[in-house]
Each structure stands twice: as C-alpha cells, then as structure tokens.
C-alpha cells in the first residue's frame, strides 16, 4: 500500500482514473466533440433553434432508452417499446376524434399496461427469455393495431392540440417537452438510486438467487418493471405523436434499436446489474447529434450507415476502456 502512495501517479493515469470514477465526464466530452465537429462542418448550425430541435428528438429516444436501461439492469431487454409507443399514439390520435381527452388517454394507455403485464408474467413467471417474450408481444401488438386500424379509417385521426404543443412547442428557447421529460427523468434517476424498487432491479439483474433468498419475489419485480417500461413507452408514444403529427402504424418502430444503443453507450451493461439513467440520457443525445452529423455529410447513404455503425462501436469501446480502468 504505502509504496504505491509514494510513487507519483502519472498524469495520464490520473485523468483516466478521474474519468473512471465519473463515467459521465467522458460521455459529455464526446458529446461536445461531436457538436464541435458539426459546427466546423456547417458553421452556424449550432444555434438556439438547432439545440431545441435536437433536444426535442432526443427526448422520446431518451425515454425509450430509459425503458431499456431499467430492463437491461435486470438482464432483460424490451423490444416491445416501439410497438407500445405506436399503439398508444395511434389510439390516442384516433380516439380523440370521438372521445373526451381523458378517456382517450386512458384508452391509449390500456394496451401499454396489457402488453407490459403479459411481458412481465411471461418473463417473471414463465421465465421466457425477455428478447423472445417482448418480440412476441410486439408482433401480437402490431397485428392487433392493424386490425384496430381498419375499424377507425372512417373516423379519421387528429393530433390533440396539447400533445402538439408538448411535442413541438418551444417556450423562450426551451422545448415544452422538457416539462414532461425533466420530472420523468428525475423520477427514474431517483427510483433507481433511492428506492427499494430500484435497488431490487440492480440486485435481481446481478444475482437472482441471492434476491430470492433475501425474500424478493422475482415475478413481482419483473412484472412491475415491464409494466413500468410499457407505461413509459406509452407516454413516449403520446409525446412522439405530438412531435411527428402523423399517426402511422410504424411510428415509433425506428426508435427501438437506437434506444438499446443509447442505453449501451450510456454505460448500462446488457448483462444486468450495472448502469444508470443519467448516462443513458447523454447516450440519447449523442445518438441524435450523430444522426444530424451524418445527414449533413454529403456522402452516399451506404457510407453514412457504415460510419454510423463504426462510430457507435468506437464510442462504446472507448467508453468501456475508460470506465474499466479502475
């Protein structure tokens, strides 16, 4: 011990250790670097409007990535979030035509609760692998939505004004969606760090047998988790429909893989037991900025996708290097 204390630690190592203890720092640095590159490529792009736009698009991704963060903590994954978000959005947009907003909201959240419940019971009670379970329910959900869609073609769809306000509105430079997101994010962070439920998510993902011996009922935790995840996805759907303003049957589907990527980039382990939501939020921002960056680059679509893949890989690898240095 004492010998290591005397020899001065090299500066490089000190920086690495500093970053390893604060895993958010390298992520934020990376985000800043991306923004700087963007600004160099297109001088003037980084303005108030751009920042508001980026945040607007990052928020739905960040909430869905929150679903992934929580499920990944238990060693799972929730691939049904895209379908759930789409269902809520579509049902909201079609029911609002004839129903009271509150009723439409309840109707929109119903499939979310249902799918979350089925996911939770499948994973928690029947021990189906989460990947398969959520994939299956998302197929079922999509099918149901298509059947439902045919019954409402005649009545049409409408985007409720308050959702459009929430999704697209900007108040003195700040997107209105922050009104929803900030409390939501604070709640998730608090839940993970300071509540019994959060503790159990980590513990269950780390060692399920140990939690069982401590009296934890796995199925309760898992069911609550997947219902929570689905509810968050449902809320995301409502926010997203306000942002996109076009109900379609594949609305939120394209967000699913990026939501997994955002959680992973943010430092949550896909094997469970390790990670947190603040990293995920930065991860979502990084992905959104990256998408803009790649759109701005004038290169063939193929090259753009290659670059996207390589950057995601590089970022995750570099991040792991830094954090594992302990």
């Amino acid at each position: 011990m004492s010998t290591s204390a005397i020899t001065p630690v090299p500066f490089g190592r000190r920086i690495k250790r500093f970053m390893a203890d604060r895993p958010l720092v390298p992520l934020i640095i990376l985000l800043v670097i991306l923004v700087v590159i963007l600004q160099i490529l297109r001088p003037g792009i980084v303005n108030e409007r751009w920042i508001a736009n980026t945040i607007k698009f990052a928020i739905p991704l960040a909430i869905l990535a929150g679903c992934q963060t929580m499920t990944m903590l238990t060693g799972g994954i929730d691939l049904s979030v895209g379908t759930v978000a789409t269902m809520s959005a579509f049902i909201m947009a079609t029911q609002i035509v004839s129903q009271d907003p509150a009723i439409a909201f309840l109707l929109a959240m119903m499939p979310a609760v249902l799918i979350g419940l089925v996911n939770g019971i499948g994973v928690g009670v029947f021990r189906v692998h989460p990947l398969i379970m959520t994939l299956g329910t998302s197929l079922i959900g999509t099918g149901c939505l298509q059947v439902y869609q045919r019954t409402v073609i005649a009545s049409g769809a409408k985007i409720p004004g308050f959702l459009a306000w929430l999704g697209t509105g900007v108040t003195s430079g700040f997107p209105n969606a922050l009104l929803l997101f900030v409390p939501l994010a604070a709640l998730i962070v608090f839940t993970l760090a300071r509540t019994g439920f959060g503790r159990l998510l980590y513990a269950v993902g780390d060692n399920e047998r140990a939690t069982r011996l401590s009296g934890v009922q796995y199925w309760q935790v898992i069911t609550a988790l997947y219902v929570t995840s689905s509810l968050l996805a449902g809320i995301t759907g409502l926010l997203y429909i306000g942002l996109i303003k076009a109900p379609s049957l594949s609305l939120a589907e394209p967000l699913v893989l990026p939501s997994v990527a955002a959680a992973v980039i943010g430092g949550t382990s896909i094997f469970g037991g390790r990670g947190g939501y603040t990293g995920t939020i930065i991860g979502a921002l990084i992905l959104t900025v990256l998408t803009t960056l790649l759109t701005i680059l004038q290169m063939p679509e193929g090259a753009r996708r290659i670059l996207f893949g390589l950057i995601v890989l590089f970022v995750t690898a570099a991040y792991l290097r830094i954090v594992e240095e302990r």
Partner: protein, 322 residues
C-alpha cells in the same frame, strides 16, 4: 354475397403498416366485393423481401387460386414464382410496379413519370433556378430508384437548379421530420423541396420552425392535400399515386378471367398533378380533399373506369365473405 362470386383471388403484398399499402389492400378487397365475381380473397400481406414474396406466391399456388394480384417486392426477384403461377394456369397481375415476367399483366403507377411531373412543376415554380432539398424514399428500394430516374430527368432540363442536399427518409415520418429540422437549422437557403411522399410532416416542420414556406411537391396523401388548401402561404403540388391501383388490379384480373384480355400486357396509370398555384388547381384540390381519411392515406381512393366501389366500401375495408 359469397355465393355470387366464382373466383378465388390471391393477393401478395410485402409492406405492412404503411398508409398507402393499407389503402391498396382495402381497394383490392372493396373492388372484389363490388365486382360480385369473387367468392374469396386469399391475402398474404406482411413485411418481407422478394424471397418471402416467392414463398407467398407459391403458397397461393398451393391454395389453387384463380388469379394472383401482386405488388412486387422487386420487378425481377419474383420472376420464378410468377412463371410457376402462369404454368399452373393462374392469371397474374402486377400492380404498382412492373415485373420482368413476360406472362404477367401489369397495371401500374408510372413511378418515373410521377417524379418527373412533380419535379418539373417544382423547378418551374422556382423560376428555373435555385437550390432544391431532395428527400428520397428508402435506399435500395426499386420504386425509389425509378423515381430517382424521373427526378434526374427533370433536373437535366433545368441546368440552373441544384440539389442542395439529398437525404433518404426511408419513407418514415420521424426520420424525415428530423432531417428537415436539422437541415433548416443549418440556415442553408433553399428554394424548393421535393419529397417522395412523406409530405405533411415537412410542412409541419416548416411551420413550426417558422422557416420560409418554399414550394413543396409531395403525394396526394390526405394530410398534405388538406394542408395545400389550409396552410397560408404554402405553394405546393400533390402528385397522384393512387393506392386504389390495387382495386384496378383486381378489375384487370377479373376481366382476364372472364376472357376479356387487354390489348397490351402493360397498362400504365398516369399520375396527375394538383397544384395550388392556380385557381383551376385549387378547385381540384378542394374536390379531392378528404379530411376524414387518415393523413397517410392517398385521397385518390378510386380510379375512373377501373374501380367501381364506393368510398364507404373502401373505408370499411371488407372483402367478399367478411
């Protein structure tokens, strides 16, 4: 009603959950019902590729249908399956896109013309010069590359028009919206926008970010057509790309089954352009607008001479026996 018909018609489609394709399938069902000649529809409708469509076509052959109406995943990729169907005595009609199988009948929207017509109008609106934002469909899809040909053809006629930026929307609303918003924030001036049918979100984006409303060309989706009449200061045009082509395909298949073969193998439905720059155009848009439809559905829910169903029938989306 089932007793009235005598034919079983198979349908194969490989994109699910997209408003245009849903309308196409509903048109097929409605037309089959309205014709009174169809006893049963056998629909294979899912997201898959050419190989998957081959599987569906072969399953339809196994089901011994009388005719197959197919929206091909690829013009060449399903040749083998269509050939087998013809050999089995099944009438094959391709809708929306051409196929390379010579025995198949084709009734199709002219995708190259679709892009050419809209782009040409747009470039004229731009005064023959300036920068255009070119928002394509899905990279690697054959309809997208056909449209690209038409767009490039128009571009060649206007040497002073430049493409400011080319993006692939993947025919997805959210991607398109994020792309246009990112682009707008760069402050790069543009004089026009051409979109491959993802249109209403683009108008939304311009309005929301208070960017100048440049001329926009999109498709005849209900949402966009409505915007062309209602959004103040918006100059634009909707090029028709009727999803009801599916109904026309069913009609063609029934005609052939009844022994009334058309003169040519290929029937092209030419697109129309409805713009809101002239009073004549505005009138057309007014007539076509249909706020009751889902914004993703094309408003041209019928094709004169080819479809006989009513609006209620296509909206009900019920086939024979349902």
């Amino acid at each position: 009603s089932a007793a009235a018909g005598k034919y079983t018609i198979g349908i194969s489609n490989t994109v699910q959950g997209n408003g245009w394709r849903e309308e196409m399938v509903c048109a097929m069902k409605a037309q089959a019902l309205a014709s009174g000649e169809v006893a049963k529809l056998n629909i294979a409708h899912r997201n898959t590729d050419a190989a998957g469509q081959l599987e569906d076509i072969r399953n339809l052959i196994s089901a011994k249908v009388d005719a197959i109406v197919v929206n091909p995943a690829d013009p060449a990729g399903i040749k083998a399956g269509l050939e087998e169907a013809t050999k089995a005595g099944i009438v094959v009609v391709a809708v929306d896109q051409a196929v390379t199988e010579p025995s198949a009948y084709i009734i199709s929207n002219n995708q190259e013309e679709y892009a050419y017509l809209g782009a040409k109008w747009l470039f004229q609106q731009m005064g023959g010069k300036g920068e255009v934002f070119y928002m394509r469909g899905a990279a690697g899809a054959s309809a997208d590359s056909d449209r690209d040909k038409g767009f490039k053809k128009a571009l060649a006629e206007f040497p002073d028009v430049k493409v400011a930026q080319e993006v692939f929307t993947g025919w997805q609303q959210d991607q398109a919206k994020q792309q246009i918003l990112s682009f707008l924030s760069t402050g790069t001036p543009i004089n026009g926008i051409w979109t491959s049918g993802i249109d209403n979100v683009i108008v939304d984006a311009l309005v929301e970010s208070q960017a100048p409303l440049v001329p926009i060309v999109g498709a005849d989706n209900a949402g966009f057509v409505g915007q062309l009449s209602s959004v103040k200061g918006l100059v634009g045009a909707a090029v028709t790309n009727p999803g009801s082509i599916g109904g026309a395909g069913v009609t063609l298949a029934l005609q052939i089954l009844d022994g009334k073969k058309p003169a040519q193998q290929t029937v092209l439905v030419q697109p129309q352009l409805w713009e809101n720059a002239t009073d004549e155009g505005k009138a057309k848009l007014k007539a076509a607008a249909d706020p009751s439809l889902s914004p993703e559905w094309p408003v041209s829910i019928s094709i004169p001479d080819w479809t006989t169903y009513t609006k209620d029938q296509i909206v009900a989306c019920k086939g024979p026996g349902e």
